[in-house]
């Protein structure tokens, strides 16, 4: 498939490798949620959806430690708040569905997202204005992601302006291309050690007389 829109041309922080990694995190989390689904124990699509959503949020929040370009600005603790992450400084939310069927509650940027959008624009004034970014997760009949897209939405028209199909990491054939960056040096904390025979050592001024003399 030829992709007509390459997000990193408009959003420098959204590099191909980062999108592949985020796509992979989502694919893994939701795939495992689907594996654990137990319709025989009276679980419904609702419970599958909740499990998939919570696991996706959790997996992204944990991955923040591994990828310095990834952060979660809202919803890291779970619960009924908008989950907003930033990829390379660009705020992104995710929803389940087709790229051109954006649920109403995902059509406008949320408050934490607006803050991040303004921050990103203050740093790079060349970023597109009036746009927000979503990851659309299209599931198959079993609840596993069949395709994951990055969708750029026009805030006013609430319609997608650009769509990028995020390839699977393993099939992309470019893993070697972006070998992991060198990890930061590990430097253990510094702590003072006592001199064992400290009691026998005298200071200069003690030699010359103490205060109580």
């Amino acid at each position: 498939m030829t992709q007509t829109w390459l997000p990193w041309n408009d959003y420098p922080g959204l590099t191909r490798e980062r999108l592949l990694i985020v796509g992979d995190i989502i694919r893994d989390a939701r795939g495992e949620a689907a594996d654990d689904h137990r319709p025989d124990k009276y679980e419904t699509n609702w419970s599958l959806g909740v499990r998939g959503y919570e696991r996706t949020c959790g997996a992204i929040s944990w991955s923040v430690q591994e990828h310095p370009w990834l952060s979660v600005v809202s919803g890291a603790g779970g619960g009924p708040v908008h989950f907003v992450m930033t990829i390379g400084g660009h705020p992104v939310r995710f929803y389940r569905g087709e790229p051109d069927e954006i649920p109403a509650r995902y059509q406008q940027p949320s408050l934490p997202e607006v803050v991040e959008l303004q921050r990103a624009l203050a740093i790079d004034s060349n970023l597109p204005e009036g746009r927000c970014l979503r990851i659309a997760i299209d599931n198959d009949a079993t609840g596993r992601p069949s395709a994951i897209y990055l969708v750029e939405i026009d805030e006013e028209l609430a319609t997608p302006t650009n769509v990028y199909l995020i390839p699977e990491l393993e099939q992309s054939g470019t893993v070697a291309e972006f070998a992991r960056p060198i990890p930061p040096a590990e430097i253990p904390p510094v702590t003072a050690e006592a001199i064992e025979d400290a009691g026998q050592v005298t200071t200069d001024h003690k030699k010359t007389g103490s205060r109580d003399e």
Binding site: W8, P12, W69, I123, P183, A185, I187, A194, H205, R211
Partner: protein, 362 residues
């Protein structure tokens, strides 16, 4: 106190630290300017007890402070002042006095607490290539690899440099260091940019490595220390690979800042020095940073791990040897206020809290 000799250098030390002029001090303690000058220079020996008490009160020390030996005065030639060219003499004097007082505290601690061994290599390097090589040698010696250095303060402390984050009332100095019996780097707390502190520490390490036994302060030595700091913090190959991995943008610069713990301006400068940015783009970047106000205050400042060794030494001395801040104050003849000003540590006094008198109605 008549059995002991008045030490004029200590009067000068306390006066410089408190930034009091000779004239002002003479006025405060009601003696002539000339007489005080004589006591400082040792031309007159024993001031009267009441004058000593007045001087002590004015300079926030105990009277006995003036009668102790002063073993290790920080000399101008031993110290490196960041932004030294623009530093007024009075500010430098005050900073040196602060250093000398820190030295007294550390000397006292050194009787009980073992110092990390001084392991900073002295490397003769003048050209940019040689400095680049020196920075790489340090990374290898200290087993840091070639990735980002998250705690450069720890690196300094682990290799025998004491870090003090307490330089006050001196906005004309970013940091200063001294190599001597105790090698110390003092950071300016008036500055709030953590990426700048990180660079300041690396800059002072540069002086230790490159200018052992040499006078610093010239434009040349400052530029060499700056180049060392950039080379040390942003290892050329790894940094260049990451810088080139994406098209240039401010998002890339701030991504790199978050990862490498170095200011955006240092990243831009380093990229220019390594030939990753052409001169036109470099100038435009600086213009953009200036317009955005980033040359004074940048977004996405990294977390800064402050000094660890000195607080841990104080803690250990208090716990193990009962050498609390109050006990150190007593031994050094400093008032708690002065001790706090020197070390940044609060001193718990045994005095009961003063409460308002209550009027009891009958």
């Amino acid at each position: 106190m008549s059995d002991r000799e008045f030490v004029g250098a200590r009067l000068q030390l306390a006066r410089s630290f408190n930034q009091v002029t000779l004239t002002k001090l003479a006025e405060t303690v009601s003696v002539s300017f000339g007489l005080l000058g004589h006591y400082e220079n040792g031309l007159r020996k024993q001031p009267a007890d009441d004058l000593v008490a007045a001087l002590a009160r004015a300079l926030k020390v105990e009277p006995r402070f003036f009668f102790e030996p002063l073993p290790d005065v920080w000399q101008e030639a031993e110290c490196s002042f960041r932004r030294r060219a623009a530093t007024p003499e009075g500010v430098k004097k005050r900073a040196r006095a602060h250093g000398t007082l820190i030295g007294l505290v550390v000397r006292e601690l050194a009787n009980h607490v073992r110092f990390p061994e001084y392991r900073i290599p002295s490397i003769e390097a003048r050209s940019l290539d040689e400095i680049e090589q020196a920075a790489e040698t340090c990374r290898l010696n200290w087993e840091l690899g070639f990735g980002p250095i998250p705690h450069v303060g720890r690196v300094a402390e682990r290799n025998g440099v004491i870090l003090v984050q307490r330089l006050r009332h001196a906005d004309k100095i970013d940091a200063f260091s001294r190599r001597g019996p105790f090698s110390v780097v003092v950071l300016n707390t008036a500055r709030t940019s953590t990426s700048r502190w990180i660079f300041d520490i690396a800059h002072e390490l540069g002086h230790f490595v490159l200018h052992d036994g040499l006078a610093t302060g010239s434009k040349e030595t400052e530029e060499q220390a700056n180049y060392f700091a950039a080379a040390f913090l942003l290892s050329p190959k790894a940094f260049a690979r990451e810088f080139r991995s994406r098209q240039f943008s401010w998002t890339l610069v701030f991504d790199l800042k978050r990862r490498w713990f170095v200011s955006a301006s240092a990243i831009i400068r380093r990229a220019y020095n390594l030939g990753l940015l052409d001169p036109i783009l470099y100038r435009r970047c600086y213009q953009h940073m200036s317009v955005q106000g980033w040359l004074k205050s940048e977004p996405y400042e990294p977390e800064f791990a402050g000094p660890e060794w000195l607080p841990s030494a104080f803690q250990l001395a208090a716990k193990r040897f009962n050498l609390t801040a109050a006990a150190l104050c007593d031994r050094l003849y400093l008032t708690p206020e002065m001790f706090s000003d020197v070390t940044g540590l609060p001193v718990a006094t045994d005095r009961p809290a003063i409460t308002k008198p209550r009027i009891v109605k009958r």
